[in-house]
């Protein structure tokens, strides 16, 4: 056994507390991305295959039927153009939610590595924020890939459509922040995963005006859409992509809803992280 090459200086000399206080969340994000990097090929594969399958099967396949019955598709544009902002938003939101849920359940329950992080100068708040930001980085990557696929298939066009990216990311951030708090608060991860996948993601995907306008649904089903960040994001997306008509007030409500959701999500996720780590 060789003796240490470095002379011991001690933590009082070497630990840079002010750096941790300022950039702690960033270090958490960086380590999450380091873990994602281990899965880079499957992440990239998913980001490419996901839009391809959807666009080929639904956008173009089903779009043929929609187009043949109505002269101008739906909402005054082709079915693919109608669908594009919704597909982009759902891929982005689901991507961010998954990337928030798994590490959080693992960090508190399966692997408990959040407790290891909390044994350093990092605070609960920094851990929560860092995990959220890392999930959004991953979602951004998936969203950009999806956007490129949409461009290639003609689902979106023009410089203006670039605005879809920030609008979509905003929706992903608001939903993911809430799910971050939920995951920190819940003690039974398996039950939570089943509920989220079967009873939350799926209905939101189907009842948020993704495949047809929400207005064609009975009112009691429309209500699901009103609570869904996916619907709000899709409405804004359609407005950006092809000028789908929204009143000024409608636009404000869509943004306000997502802003409130984000603020509530960030506040409670920080709080639940602190409570769970101090248990």
């Amino acid at each position: 056994m060789s003796s240490p090459k470095l002379a011991r200086q001690g933590s009082l000399q070497i630990v840079d507390l002010s750096k941790v206080l300022s950039f702690g969340s960033f270090f958490v994000t960086a380590s999450r991305i380091r873990i994602m990097w281990k899965w880079r090929w499957s992440i990239a594969g998913e980001a490419i295959a996901n839009p391809l399958f959807y666009l080929l099967s639904i956008g173009i396949g089903i779009g043929k039927f929609v187009g043949s019955h109505q002269s101008a598709g739906i909402d005054g544009v082709s079915y693919l153009k109608f669908l594009a902002p919704a597909l982009l938003a759902s891929a982005c939101i689901i991507g961010a939610v998954n990337e928030v849920m798994h590490p959080t359940l693992e960090g508190f329950k399966w692997n408990k590595n959040f407790f290891a992080m909390n044994a350093t100068p990092l605070s609960a708040k920094q851990i929560a924020d860092g995990v959220l930001v890392a999930a959004l980085v991953r979602a951004l990557f998936g969203t950009v890939m999806y956007y490129i696929a949409l461009l290639a298939f003609g689902g979106v066009s023009g410089w203006n459509s670039l605005w879809l990216l920030p609008a979509t990311m905003f929706a992903a951030a608001s939903f993911a922040s809430v799910m971050l708090g939920v995951c920190a608060a819940v003690e039974n991860p398996d039950l939570l995963l089943n509920i989220v996948n079967r009873l939350l993601i799926m209905p939101l995907f189907l009842f948020s005006g993704t495949f047809y306008s929400l207005k064609t649904m009975p009112l009691f089903l429309q209500v699901i859409g009103w609570f869904s960040p996916l619907w709000h994001s899709t409405e804004i997306g359609r407005w950006i992509a092809y000028g789908h008509s929204i009143s000024g007030l409608g636009l404000v409500i869509h943004f306000a809803y997502m802003t409130v959701m984000l603020l509530v999500g960030v506040y409670f996720s920080r709080r639940f992280f602190a409570q769970r780590l101090a248990k």
């Binding site: 070497i14 941790v20 960086a30 044994a119 100068p121």
Partner: protein, 324 residues
């Protein structure tokens, strides 16, 4: 022999030799109706190797988490490095190295990456961590495993990596919660050797254990805990001297007959303990005692003379065995 309070001559003595790093007074932690830590007082000095000995549920881990500034206390006072953990959590945690009871490494990352990522959480520079990783891999005997994912390591290797990870920031205080539980004897001895080296480097060690041999090997001073209270506090050698005789005679007459002989044996020595499978007799000359027993016409099926240990101290203090 175990290092006593007066021992530890190899410890590099510094000017702040008697500096108190941890000071607890009336420390108390309740979970609802359950009192996990019931008003305890203790002090830990710089460079000391301090142990919490007690059975599972004695309140050792709870005390450790309060010291680690990750759990709030219900009552009492405590300072670590002169600061209150509830007001200065990050400032205190910056100078602690924590080895939890259960390894909580990042399984998806390699051995090396685990050390790197953790170093960043202390605000250490990339350059420093890269150099430090070489030392730590040597220390933990994991050089050959550096690029292996943690999930592929053995239990002993994970334990050593967890300890190495806690050392990346060169902490003032290294806290180890049941460091060798679940390890085979060989892995335990490797780990003890590593901990001795740290002690020689002047690192203050805080160790919880329910293994008396571990406490005797590693601790300069320890407190014996049971049901959230401190039963005794001293060096291992002094505790044995105070609470037990020099030697112990263990005799077995067979499960049904042990109790039968107990009364007769009681009068022959300082103290006896009747356990389900054997009788412990406390005396300073146990060979002589064994001789007297046979003279009196009693013939135990097995007998063993051994030195007193912390197990005997615990039995004396609580009437119960450490490992149940």
């Amino acid at each position: 022999m175990a290092p006593s309070g007066a021992g530890g001559t190899t410890v590099r003595r510094m000017s702040g030799e008697s500096e108190v790093l941890i000071n607890a007074a009336g420390l108390r932690k309740e979970y609802g109706d359950f009192v996990a830590v019931d008003g305890i007082d203790f002090q830990v000095k710089k460079g000391e190797s301090f142990g919490f000995l007690g059975p599972n549920g004695a309140g050792k881990s709870t005390t450790m988490r309060i010291i680690a500034a990750t759990l709030t206390r219900t009552a009492g006072e405590i300072t670590i490095l002169g600061k209150d953990p509830e007001k200065h959590g990050p400032e205190i945690r910056a100078h602690l190295g924590v080895v939890p009871q259960q390894d909580n490494l990042d399984n998806a990352l390699t051995v090396e990456d685990n050390l790197y990522v953790y170093g960043r959480y202390f605000g250490l520079s990339k350059k420093f961590i890269r150099a430090k990783i070489e030392d730590l891999l040597d220390f933990a005997q994991l050089q050959e495993k550096r690029s292996v994912k943690v999930e592929a390591l053995s239990g002993g290797m994970k334990r050593r990596l967890t300890i190495a990870r806690a050392l990346v920031s060169e902490p003032e205080i290294l806290m180890l919660d049941e460091p060798t539980t679940g390890l085979d004897p060989q892995a335990r001895h490797i780990l003890w050797d590593r901990l001795f080296r740290l002690k020689e480097d002047g690192v203050t060690l805080l160790i919880t254990t329910h293994y008396m041999d571990e406490a005797e090997q590693l601790c300069d001073r320890l407190i014996v805990m049971d049901k959230g209270r401190i039963m005794a506090e001293d060096s291992p050698a002094n505790l044995i001297k105070t609470y037990s005789t020099k030697e112990v005679l263990e005799v077995r007459f067979g499960t049904d007959r042990n109790a039968l002989y107990a009364d007769q044996l009681k009068s022959m020595c300082e103290r006896i303990e009747v356990l389900p499978d054997r009788i412990l007799m406390y005396s300073n000359d146990c060979e002589q005692l064994l001789h007297e027993i046979t003279q009196a016409g009693m013939h135990p099926t097995t007998s063993l003379v051994r030195r007193s240990s912390l197990e005997d101290v615990f039995l004396r203090l609580t009437g119960r065995s450490l490992v149940e």
